[in-house]
């Protein structure tokens, strides 16, 4: 038995959400941040569960995974780190990636 989705059965007309900040953009952006934070937590939870299962089966060396990386490992990952940061931060510069109107 499948009932109609909640609210679909009634004359549900979406209303504007409550706002708390002088600029509603912040209200909405915070919602995006919180949704992402939830996903991060769900992934962390899943990753830890996976690691525990693998360690129990002897597939994973948990102490080695938790140890500080060696200088070789750091050297190998530094380019990846720099690319990650550049991608994350490039919007802050406010520079066009393609030729076109500026406003």
């Amino acid at each position: 038995m499948h009932s109609p989705a909640p609210n679909a059965a009634r004359d549900f007309k979406p209303q504007p959400e409550q706002t708390f900040f002088p600029d509603v953009a912040l209200d909405r952006a915070l919602g995006v941040v919180m949704a992402l934070a939830t996903e991060v937590y769900v992934l962390r939870d899943r990753q830890f569960a996976l690691e525990r299962q693998l360690a129990r089966r002897g597939v994973l060396d948990l102490p080695q995974l938790e140890a500080e990386p060696t200088s070789e490992e750091l050297a190998a990952s530094s380019a990846d780190r720099d690319a990650f940061v550049a991608h994350l931060m490039s919007s802050v510069l406010g520079v066009q990636a393609s030729k076109g109107p500026t406003e």
Partner: protein, 355 residues
């Protein structure tokens, strides 16, 4: 590899983790944001110098506070995320619908009244931000039952103590009821402790929401009758009960319905019978009152404020009650202490004797 998952699948583990995150933020809100807001309010009040006498005074002091904006946002939206969205309770139970309904004990059924019309005030607002409310979907009772686990997240598993402390209080007053009516029983969280506290008494429990009553009946191992009925208009004869109770009911009703409900309690009580309600009415100061009124708005409980503004002693006196007592209630040990730091509901016991 046989992997039946799709991109839209949320496993039980992920659902639980999403809910855990929401609860974690709510706990932070209770324990950290609230005390910080209270401190900021105190500083602003000192700097302002004028006496703080009303909710409007508190609002004036906090309306441009950035901390208050985050406090309000978190209260509103973490509750939204609890019920709605990818890890929300409503979508989860909608996906588990058949298994969830099967998990209820079909041999125990509440007495439903399909002809009962839901009052307008009840259907016009999805209380607690529960989409569709607690009444419109067959699994809404299960959603509400699960949601109640984290209504007061600081209590954790001890939340059940709240109901036990309430029924203990009835016992401590020396009342020995023989016929009990629990109004607005929901999924039975308030009813079962009464039935256990008074094993000799007959217990009737009523609610508007059929989905909640089905959960209540399924969870109850005993003699309680669960019936679908409006507490403001029951079918019981005059003077039928010697104890009428409710837990967290009255603040969900507009004042005229509160008046009808209390008046109905008076009608079905024997002379000398008692009425006792656990609700939100007593405030320590205007700050707590302001926080409660704005909580009502943010949590979709529009009658919290009007209820708290009612003249209950006057109403109960007019209805012929005596020994009217309105007292703060400690839902846990120590929560009434002046220095208790975290957010809490303004729990209040409202009791009276039918003259």
């Amino acid at each position: 590899m046989n992997d039946a998952r799709t991109t839209s699948t949320v496993s039980a583990r992920s659902f639980a983790a999403g809910q855990q995150f929401v609860t974690g933020v709510k706990i932070y809100w209770h324990r950290s944001l609230y005390p910080a807001l209270r401190e900021e309010y105190a500083q602003r009040a000192r700097a302002d110098g004028r006496p703080v006498e009303s909710v409007a005074d508190v609002r004036r002091l906090l309306e441009d506070s950035t901390l208050y904006r985050y406090f309000g946002w978190c209260e509103r939206h973490m509750q939204r995320l609890k019920y709605s969205g990818r890890y929300g309770l409503v979508p989860w139970f909608a996906r588990q619908r058949e298994a969830a309904e099967r998990a209820l004990d079909a041999s125990k059924r509440a007495e439903l009244d399909p002809a009962l019309e839901m009052p307008r005030y009840y259907v016009n607002c999805d209380i607690h931000q529960h989409p569709g409310g607690v009444w419109s979907d067959p699994v809404a009772g299960l959603v509400y039952e699960r949601a109640a686990r984290t209504t007061a997240p600081l209590s954790g598993a001890r939340y059940a103590d709240l109901h036990d402390r309430f029924t203990d209080l009835v016992g401590e007053r020396g009342w020995r009821p023989e016929r009990i009516l629990d109004m607005g029983c929901g999924f039975g969280g308030s009813t079962r402790p009464f039935a256990e506290q008074f094993p000799e008494a007959s217990v009737d429990a009523i609610d508007l929401a059929a989905p909640c009553l089905q959960v209540a009946a399924s969870r109850d191992g005993g003699r309680t009758r669960y019936r679908q009925m409006d507490a403001a208009r029951t079918d019981y004869p005059d003077a039928h009960f010697d104890l009428v109770t409710s837990t967290m009911l009255l603040h969900e009703m507009p004042p005229p319905v509160v008046e009808k409900t209390v008046s109905e309690a008076a009608r079905v009580l024997q002379p000398g019978g008692r009425m006792i309600h656990l609700d939100f009415y007593h405030f320590r100061d205007p700050f707590q009152r302001f926080i409660h009124y704005t909580h009502g708005r943010r949590n979709n409980e529009p009658y919290m404020e009007p209820f708290a503004e009612m003249d209950l002693p006057g109403l109960l006196t007019r209805l012929g009650f005596k020994d009217i007592r309105i007292e703060p209630f400690a839902e846990q040990e120590g929560t009434l202490a002046a220095d208790y730091p975290a957010w809490r509901y303004p729990w209040t016991v409202i009791s009276a004797e039918r003259a």
